[in-house]
Amino acid sequence: MNKKGLISIIAVFLGLIAGALLMLVTGHNPIEGFIYLIQGGTLSLERIGNTIATATPLILTGLSVAFGFRTGLFNIGTPGQMLAGGLCATIFCLTVELPRPAMLTCIILIAFIGGALWAFIPGLLKAVFNVHEVVSCIMMNWVAYWIVYYVIKDNFPNGTVSTESRAIVDSSTLRAPWLSSLFGNSYINLGIFVAIIAVIIIAIILDKTSFGYELKAVGFNTHAAQYAGISVNKNVILSLMIAGGLAGLAGLTQYAGNATNMQIGIMPSQGFDGIAVSLLGNNTPIGALLSALFFGLLYAGRGFMSVMTDVPPEIADTIIATIIYFAATSIIVERFLNKLAAKKKAKLAAQVEKVEPITPVAPIIDTNVKNTEAKNEDTVGLFPPQDASEEEKGGE
C-alpha cells in the first residue's frame, strides 16, 4: 500500500518535472509558473471553492473508473456516461418544475440511472457476447456525443450561443446560494456532497459488503468466482452499471452544478481524466478523492497562471496527461524501487551474517509486484535456497 502511494507520488513528481521542462523549453519561468498555478487554486476562499467545484466531477469519474478497475473492468466509457447522465438530468431540469428537495432527489436519481443505462449496453455485450468493454465503451462514447449534440441542438437550443443548451434556472440545479456565498461567491455547489457521499458508499460496498466481495472476486478470477457459485454475468453488468451511474452523477455535477447548461460538440474532458484520477489514487475511493482534488487545483489555477505569466493554460492538461503516462509506465519506477530495496536487504543480510551467520533471513516477497521477472532477478540471486524451497512448495 505504502509502496503504491510512493509510486503515485513519483508519477506526480515526474509529471510536474515534465511540465517544468516544457515551460523552460518554451521560454517561461517554471518556478513562477507553478507558484501562480498553486496560488490560482488556493489564494482566496473563492479560489478554494472553485478548486473544489472543479474537482467534483473528477472525483466521480475517478470513482467510476476505480470501481471498474476493482471489479476487473476498464470503464473507458466515462465521457459517454457523463453525457448520458447529464443529458437526462438537463432535460428533466428544463422541463419539470418541482419543490427543491424533490427536484434534487429526482435529478440525482435520473443522472445516476441515465449513466447506468448507458453502461448497461457494454455490460450486456460483455456478459452475453464477450465483447471487450473498452471497444464497446468507446463506441458508446461517440453515440452519446452525437445524440446529445442533436437532442440539445434541436430541442433545447440556446438562442445566442450555438454550442450550448438553454440555461437551467439555478434553483433547479445543484447550485446553493448559501454554499456559494460561504466561499466568496465561487461556483462551488451541492455536487461536492454528492461526490463525498458516493465515495463513502462505494468504499463501504467494496470493502464491507458481500456484494462488493462478489464483484471483486469476479474481477480477480472469473473462473474461480463462477466455480464458487457467483453469477459472473450478473456481476459484470451490475459493476458496469454502477460505474456508469457514478459517471452519470459526474455529468450532473458538471452540467447542472458547475455549469448551468450543456456544452455540445465537445467530449467532456473529465471523463478520460477520471482514468488519471483513478490510477493516481491507486484505484481506491479515498485515493480518487485526493487525486481529484489535486487535479482540480491544477485546472482551477491554470487561468490565474496564464493571466499572471504568459504560460498557456494547457500546461495543466499537459501535466495531467503526462502523469497518466508515468502512472501507466510505473513498472519502471517499481523496478527501481525493488532494486533499492534489494540493495538495502543485501546490506542488512550482510550485517546479519556478520553477527549471526546461522539465522536464516526470510525473503520479503512483495505480492504487489506484477512483473515476476524483475522480482526473480532481485530475490533469486540473494536468497537462492529459500526461493527454491518456495518454488517446490508451489509445485506440490
Binding site: I76, F129, V135, W142, Y150, M267, T318, A321, I331, E373
Partner: protein
C-alpha cells in the same frame, strides 16, 4: 439521385481517405499484437506538425504546392516519433496498452494546443492555402467512373491508395508480413521460431504512428484547413472502421468508404431535399452502432488478432 451521388462523391472520398490511412496504421499495430487506442492523439500530433510546417513554409513560399507535401512528410515522421512513447510503454515496460493509448490521446491534445499558443499566439493554426482539387486529364472523360473518381480529386487520395496496395502486399505476401501477423496471433510460437517479437511490435506501432500522423496531415490539408487541437473523433472512427473491417486491408477499405459516405450524407442531408427526411443523428451514430453490431455478430468468429492487447512475456508459457 445520380446527380446527388455525383455531387457528394468527392466529399465522401475526401472524408474516407484520412480514415483509411489511419485505420491501416491501426491494422499493422493490432496485427503485431499491440492495441492502439491512441490513434486519435497520433492524428492530432500529425495534424499539428504538418500545420506548423506548412504555416511557416507558406509564409516564405506563398502559394507553392510542395510546401504541403513537405508538411505531410513531417506529419508522418512526427507521428512515428510520438508513437515511440506507446511502443516503449507497451513493449519494453509491459504497461496496460489502453492506459498508455489514453495517455497518448490526452498528451497530444494538451501539448499541441500548448505549443500552438506559444508559437502562433492562439491555439489555432489557419492554413493560407490547402491542397487543391484536380481533374485527371484523360481519365476524367471516361463515362460513369470519370465523373466519380477522376474529377475533383486530391493527389493524396492516390498516394494513400498506393500505400494501401503496397502494404497489403507486404502483409500477406512477404515473410515480414507473416512474422508480423504471427506476433499478433501467437507471440510465443513466433518467438520460438526465431522471430524478434519486440522488434516486430515496434515496427507495427511505428507504422501506426506514421500512418496516423500522415492521416492527421491529410485531414488538415484536405478536410479542415485549420488546426484547432482536434480531429473531430476521426481517430476513434478509424478504430471503429478497423474493427468493422475485421482487421483486414480490404475490409477496412470497405468499412471506411461506408463510414465516409454515412458521415458525408449526414453533413449534407439538410441541404439536399431527398435526404432531409433522415434525421442526421442516425447517420452520425450509424458507424458506431454498426460496429457494435459487428462486434456482436463476429463475437464467435472474430478475426481479431488473438494476442492483441496482451503483453509479451517470454518467460510465460
Amino acid at each position: 439521385m445520380w446527380a446527388i451521388i455525383e455531387q457528394i462523391f468527392p466529399y465522401a472520398i475526401a472524408y474516407t481517405i484520412p480514415l483509411l490511412i489511419v485505420a491501416l496504421g491501426g491494422l499493422f499495430c493490432e496485427r503485431s499484437g499491440i492495441v492502439n487506442i491512441g490513434l486519435e492523439g497520433l492524428m492530432i500530433m500529425g495534424s499539428f506538425a504538418s500545420g506548423i510546417t506548412i504555416y511557416f513554409l507558406q509564409a516564405s513560399f506563398p502559394g507553392q504546392t510542395w510546401t504541403i507535401f513537405v508538411g505531410l512528410l513531417v506529419a508522418l515522421i512526427v507521428g512515428a516519433l510520438f508513437s515511440l512513447l506507446h511502443a516503449f510503454a507497451s513493449i519494453n515496460l509491459q504497461a496496460d496498452q489502453t492506459i498508455s493509448g489514453t495517455a497518448i490521446n490526452l498528451i497530444a491534445v494538451a501539448l499541441t494546443v500548448f505549443l500552438a499558443r506559444n508559437i502562433t499566439g492562439s491555439g489555432n493554426i489557419v492554413l493560407r492555402t490547402t491542397l487543391a482539387k484536380k481533374n485527371i486529364t484523360i481519365l476524367k472523360d471516361i463515362p460513369v467512373i470519370g465523373a466519380l473518381f477522376f474529377t475533383n480529386t486530391y493527389s493524396t487520395t492516390w498516394i494513400v491508395l498506393a500505400i494501401l496496395i503496397v502494404f497489403t502486399f507486404l502483409l500477406y505476401k512477404t515473410s515480414f508480413g507473416l512474422r508480423l501477423r504471427a506476433c499478433g496471433e501467437h507471440p510465443h510460437a513466433a518467438d520460438a521460431a526465431g522471430v524478434n517479437v519486440g522488434r516486430m511490435r515496434y515496427i507495427g506501432v511505428l507504422l501506426s504512428g506514421a500512418f496516423a500522423g500522415l492521416g492527421g496531415g491529410i485531414f488538415l490539408v484536405t478536410f479542415s484547413g485549420e488546426f484547432n487541437g482536434s480531429v473531430s473523433g476521426f481517430g476513434f472512427l478509424a478504430l471503429a472502421a478497423l474493427i468493422f473491417g475485421q482487421w483486414k486491408p480490404l475490409g477496412i477499405l470497405g468499412s471506411t468508404l461506408f463510414f465516409g459516405f454515412a458521415s458525408t450524407i449526414s453533413n449534407v442531408s439538410q441541404v439536399i431535399p431527398e435526404l432531409a427526411t433522415i434525421p442526421p443523428v442516425y447517420l452520425k451514430i450509424f458507424p458506431y452502432i454498426v460496429t457494435l453490431i459487428a462486434l456482436v455478430i463476429f463475437s464467435k468468429s472474430s478475426q481479431a488478432p488473438k494476442a492483441a492487447g496482451e503483453t509479451f512475456d517470454p518467460g510465460k508459457r
